[in-house]
Structure formats: C-alpha cells, structure tokens
Amino acid sequence: MLPRVLKRLLHQATLSNQSFRFMFDRPPDDDVVVIDCETTGLNVRTDDVVTIAAIKIRGNRILTSEHFEAVVHPDSEMGAEAIKIHRLRQSDVEAAPIVWKVLPSFLRFIGARPLIGYYVDFDIAMLDKYILPLVGIELPNERIEISRLYYERKYGDAPPNTSIDLSFAAILRDLDIPALAQHDAFDDALMTAMMFVQLRDLAERGVRIARQRTSPVFNPTGA
C-alpha cells in the first residue's frame, strides 16, 4: 500500500499544471469510468492512439448519453502505411496537437474516478505518453481490470490445469451480452461497461460463472 500512497503524494507535488488538481479530488461515490482506446498497434513506444472513448457508470446506469469520444488520429490506416514507407510518423506532425487539444477535456471528464477497461494498463500507458508531458504526471486514478473480475468469477476456484480463456469474446459469451459492431472504441467501451455492471453484481451476490466440464458427465438415465 505504502508505495502507491507515496507515489500519489509525489505526483501531487510534481503536478506541473495546478489547474489539473481535480485529478486528486475524492471521486463521487458510485461513479466509475470505462475507457477504451483504439490504437495503430500494440507497441506502447511506437504505436499511436487513434480514438479515445470513455463512458461514465453511475450505480447500475451506464450513462451513454454523456460519453466522451474523440478521434485524435483521423486516418489511422494510411498513417500506418506512411510509417513504413516514409519512416516518418505522420502522427508526429498531425495527431499530437489534436491529442493535446483533446486531453484536457478527457481529463476533466474522467476526473478522479476509477478507470475500468479490458487490459486497461495498456490503454493507460498509451494515454500517459501524452499526459505526462502535458501535466507532468501519469494518470493517478485507481484501475479496475475487467479480465480480472471475470477471472475471479469464473476461474477463482478452478482446480489446477483448467484451461483459461480471458478473451473479450469469451466474456461476452459467458455474460450473454450481444456483440456490438466492435473495434470502434465507443462500442468496445460500452460492451466493457455492460460486462462491468454484471460482473460487479455477480461478485456482490457471490454468483459464479459456470465452467464447461472437460470430461463428459456420467448420466445414469442414459439420455
């Protein structure tokens, strides 16, 4: 616990732009935010954010009517091609200024609320690339990892050697959530939000997700 608290204090002290102090306010009770970024690839150092989406959840309500959505890199596919051919990252010239224009409102939108995501550490690492130079610190918010909530509900009591599937599709299937268009940051964030409200409820009620048995069950009726 201690290092995290210390890091927080350190961050608060090193916050270069004091107008972002709200990042350390007490978050409203019951409020969390789901975030999702679309990126050009999976390498934090070389890839870029294409779109950012964030949706607030208040209690059991997913407030899609007040979501945050911004395109920071309007032409991602062409951009990726451009990197290979010109060895020049188009985003360096184009995207970065947009990110910096968009980030303040994004930070205000999420405030100090806990951040939820599917492999949320990756999304936050991507964002921190831009947030660090902007405000002098990394995102201090508490993080909630969806795949971990799912793991606890499904595999928390699993015997060793159980094969584990934490894919996004597997979670959707188990929770019976309809797949939306997908791979659009907003739809991914919305599906993640739907997963969260249900997984949180299952945890509160102590309900587990059934695991498929690997060996056939003996059925005395023969049916």
């Binding site: 997913i62 899609t64 959530i177 309809p178 939306l180 919305l190 939000a193 739907m194 409200v197 249900q198």
Partner: protein, 600 residues
Amino acid sequence: MPKAFDISNPPFDRLASNEAETLRASLDVAYFRPGEAIIGRDAPVDALYVVIKGTVEERDEAGLLALLGPKDTFDSRALVHDQSGHAFVARDETLCYLIPRKTALALIKANARFAAFFYREISQKLDELANDEEARRYGSLMNAKVSELFLHAPSFIAASDTIEAAGHRMREIGSNALFVRDGERIGIVTGMNLSKAVVLRRQSIQTPVRELANFDIVSVRPDDFVSSALLLMTKHNKRRLAVHDGERFVGILEEIDLLGFLAGSAQVIAGRIDRASSEQDLAIAARQIEAQVRLLRRQGVKVEVIAEIVCDLNRRLMSRLFEMVAPAELRTSSCLIAMGSEGRGEQTVRTDQDNGLILEGPIESDALELFRNEFSGALERFGFPPCPGNIMVSNPAWSKPLSDYLADFRRWIAIPDQAAHMNVAIIYDAQAFAGNDQLLGKAKTALIDLIRGEQAFLAHFARAIDAFETPIGLFNNLITSEGSGDALDLKKGGIFPIVHGVRSLALEQGLRETSTDKRISRLCDLGVLRTDFGRDLKQAFRFMLMLRIDGQLAASAGTSGTLVRPAHLSSMERHLLRDALQVVKQFRDIVRHHFKLGMF
C-alpha cells in the same frame, strides 16, 4: 451514443433519420439484477425501456402476464399515462436501453406514425399494422417476376401455314396465340386475327398466316418484374408479350393472365366450378382454391375477406358436387350442411371435412349408402382430408333424418357429456351448403328452443373455454431459448377460447349467425358485450387468424399449422400477439363471470 441501438426495430423504424439521431443521443443503459423491480406497480415512470439482454416479467395483481425479451419495448402505456398499472421485474441478469420520458414524448408529439404505437387501443395499433402490411404486400406483388406468372407454352408455325392449320393448332394446345416463323422474322398470330381475316375480310381459310400475323412483337425476359411487363403492355398498347430468355422464346404472356395475377382469379374459379361437367373438372378447380389463399394473402387482402371468398368457393364446389352425385330425390329432400370452421366461414387453408346431411325422412338405404361414400370419397380426392372425428356425410350418425337429429338433441341436453357438448357446438355452427336449407333451419330452431333457459347446460357448455391455458407460459420458452423450435398453439390458446366463448354467449341468446365476427357484433347490439370490448375482441381474433394463415402457408405438409413460432415473428407482431392474448384473457373472465363458472 450507442450506434448499435437497432433503429429498424418497430416502432423505432418509423422515425426519420434526424429523429433517430436525437433518440440515440439520449440513450442510457441500465443493468438490473434478477428479481429487481424495473418499474413498480403504480410507480411513476421516467423512461421507456428496450431490452438488450435478459428476460423481463410483466405482472399485474393476478400474476404473470407476459415475458419480454431482447428488442421488446416497455411500458408504452405507462409512458403516456405517467404511471404503470403493471409491474416489470427482471427475471435474470438484464440490460435495457433507457429512452428518457421527455425524449420519447417529444418524438410522439412530432411523429404521428410513431405515436400510433403508443395508443392504448389495440384495434388502433392493429389498423396501423394492416396499413403498413398492405403497402408492403402490394409492393411485393409488383416485384414478382414474369416467370411466376402463368405463361402459355410457345408453339411455332411457319408463315406459309394456312389459317385453317393455325386454328386447329390453337385448339390442340389450348392457347389463343402462336409464334409465326417467317425466315428470320418472328411474329405472333392470335385467334382474333384469324376470325377477323375470315369473317370481316372474307379471306379464304387457305390464306397463309403471314398476311395476318403481327411481326411487331414486344418481348420481356422471365426475370423481368411484373411491373415492367405491365408498363410495356400499356406503353405499346399490346394485349400480349413474347417471353424471351435471351436464347429462345419460352412463352407468351397474355394480358388477362397478368391482370388475373394482380387481381386474383376467384371469380374465374367460381365460373369454372359452376360450369364443371365432371368430377374431373371440379378436381381441377378445387386445387386452384388452395392457391388463391396464398395469392390473396400476398395481395394483402384482409383475413376475414379471404375466409369469405374461400368459404364461398368451397360452398360452390360442394354444392356442385352434390348436384352431380346425389340422386334426384335426395337433392330436394335433404340438406347438405357444413359444420365447424367451414360452417362459421372461418376456414381458409383446408383442414378437413366437417359435413353432414339432414334428410326430410327415411330413405332407401342402398342409394343413400352409395351417395355417402361417393360424396366423401370425391371430396377426399379433391384434397379435403377425412375428418378425424368422422364428422362427415359418409358416417350414418351425421347423415340421417331430421327427426333422428331432434331426438339426438333432446338426449344431448338431458344427459350432457363431453361428446354432447361437442356435438351441440358443431351443429350450432352449421351452414346449409346445398339442398333444402329449411331442414337445417328447423333443426336449429329446435336446438335453440331446447336450450333456452337451460342455464346449467350452458354453463357446462361454456366451461370448455378453460380447457387450455392462455399460452403466456410458453412465452417463457420462446424468449429463453429463442429459435430452438419453441412454438405456441394459437388455436388452443387464443382462437378456440374466443370462438367457443362467443358461441356459448350466442347460443344462450339464440342467435342464428354462424360466423364469430357477426356473432360478436350481434352480442354488442344486444348489450351482452361492451361495444369497445367487442371491437378489440374482433381485432384480436382477426389478428390471430392472420398469424394462423401465415403459419399454415409456411408450414410444410404434415404439420397442423396452428403452431406459431414467436421467434419468427417481428417484435411488432409479438407485441400485438401479447395484446391479443390479453384480450383473450379478459374475455375468458367475462365468460366465466357471465356463466358463473366460478362455482365449478
């Protein structure tokens, strides 16, 4: 804003694109755990809900009314009236879209067609649906392909052949038009061309057809739309088109067949029946009746009109067969009756024979026996399967003298059992199809007189409305295991309770009408049913009959066609089916109360 919100799901399909955007922008999503109340009874309602996943129970004080599943919308009534009479409870983990009440009301105000969905009266909603359907079906008819039309097979003659040869060929192939081959040119010669040449121009019948054929022909392709064929005929002022598939001529399309396709050809079949001179002719016409149902339905003709047309054709068919098969003495001294749904005029797709014969007096049994078997056998060959309950002319119990029927009636009413109730129901629905219809009139008068005032009999009779549950329970299966073949028996759960409840009330009042629709109107006139409820009851009944026709038309041979698979219905239809079943439930309560069935 959730782009995934399905705007094609009724009633949202009625929104203009800017309205749809407003709606999407206002949406939130809510999660409910199992057992959690989404809307409390008589609680204020601040949103319209559309189910994303899960199952929602709709309850009133008496218990479960319906189960709602993905894409179902609730509670439209509460939205308009500010609070709900019903409670909505999540049955399992449920996610819903929430449309804020303010947004929904603004859209209702701005868009009349969208608003129609929220009207309280089911009959208004049903009318809306009917209008939508009409447009859709008429469209589909014009979008049919030329190859679906009746085409005359192509037959070629040489341009040097004579008028005489052409005339003979036309008679041989039963067509009024032939293709004429003149070197490279292809033309058409018609029967009218031949007659004009000979009669008006006094040309010799040895004249080559080259001189009268028309080489200025217009062609269509088999995969052209019916609408373009119609357009070509109008534009070129042609009564027939050649059908050419790109390689060769495949047929001739006559204007009359095109118009027949668009207008239906019930009157043509009727004429064919009336002119039939053999059982063979009747068999051909009988087969065409079946095809009419499909066509009329596709044209968007209302279900009660289809039933009327089909009933009329069946009546003509049986009456003509009766004239052919029955010995002369039988034709005036007996009455052929159709019973059950055929008698009520509610049969559309053929189910089985339900008919009988009332004789004026005893008749020599050999002749009668011969007639019985011949008549029922012929109908079977026409495609009317024998009645499983053996209620048909071939069964002596249903073809006997009037006095024997009257004795039966007295016995049925004095010692009623299950069979007695069924028999009363069957004969009360009977309609005279041929012969002396006064015999049926006398039988019915006697039946009604015997039953007048027999409240205990009537109450036992009416009790059959409770024989089958309203299939609300089956909704459960449809929602929880969508598409796995769960079906709902519309006949038992919806149609039968209405038919029988109305029949019981009509019998008590001694009404002579046989159709459920007309009986309801008369019961309203007499004040037995409230007029507005009568209207809802009729609409619910017609709607379920329509679903049944569709089911029957879709059903492959061998199924009864009374099962409706709610998973295959649009969510609008499911919504209306629920409303219709609600009306059935209310009607049962009315009948139960009327006959004091609570005593049993």
